[in-house]
Symmetry: C2
Subunit: 133 residues, 2 copies
Amino acid sequence: MSEQTMTIREMCDAFDVTPRTLRFYESKELLFPQRDGQKRLFSKRDRARLKLILRGKRFGFSLEEIRQLLDLYHVGDQQHIQLSRSVSVGRERLADMERRQAELSEAIADLKGQLGWGERMLKATPLHGEAAE
Amino acid sequence: MSEQTMTIREMCDAFDVTPRTLRFYESKELLFPQRDGQKRLFSKRDRARLKLILRGKRFGFSLEEIRQLLDLYHVGDQQHIQLSRSVSVGRERLADMERRQAELSEAIADLKGQLGWGERMLKATPLHGEAAE
DNA sequence: CATAAAGTTGACGTTTACGTAAGCTAAACG
DNA sequence: CGTTTAGCTTACGTAAACGTCAACTTTATG
């Protein structure tokens, strides 16, 4: 029944990370690959976790923040997790993300405005790329 | 006519950063405070830039990425900036941010789902905080 | 069986974004 | 005029997140 487990290299290719990264995440208790002798075997669960880790990273969360969130997504992976704590951590992250979303919309609007200005300047000046007054 | 310039401490209080941070940003050419003898004086423009810097940081952009974007917002601050380059850098950042926005919406939806599940589990179990099967 | 391929464990190196401490200067105050 | 107070420069220290390298083991292969 050993199914759907992947070697470290397959993981690296699938997620575009290095072996070092995967071992580092394991050392930080973000992933828990099983062992076949020496070698690591990554399960479907590990892949789900890695996907969340990489997503969290793109949002600028630290690995430690991500680790706490993973406890919410995978309650029971470790025995001693307090669900209520995971939920409250999750609520804080959600609030974070919603704030970010609002700020991001504002920033996007700003940037669009600036770009519009820049593009109009480019069209208006005969010498593309030169500084404008 | 020297108006609206702020000392380093006023800046720190206004933006909740340390003097070290402002000097560091200057050393990286993100800010260009004038000098009154030794002392730095931060203009309205510096404050606008700092605001953008801090915003960019919250989105996880590196200071170098932010510096390039600032060139778009303040074309002409330096003499040698290519507007067309600034615009194209800006377009890339905008694309980044829009991708982030989409992914963020997805992540928020996911997290809400997980939170809903967690909260239902909490209500259903008599012993709050215990792990559920 | 020799060796190449894939994986493993240390352990030290690197970059980013500042923190922190030492020692100097200049204005302001009693 | 001595001394806080605010600011300055220079320089070393630090945490996070890996990169890189050395040395070893295990598995596959001609």
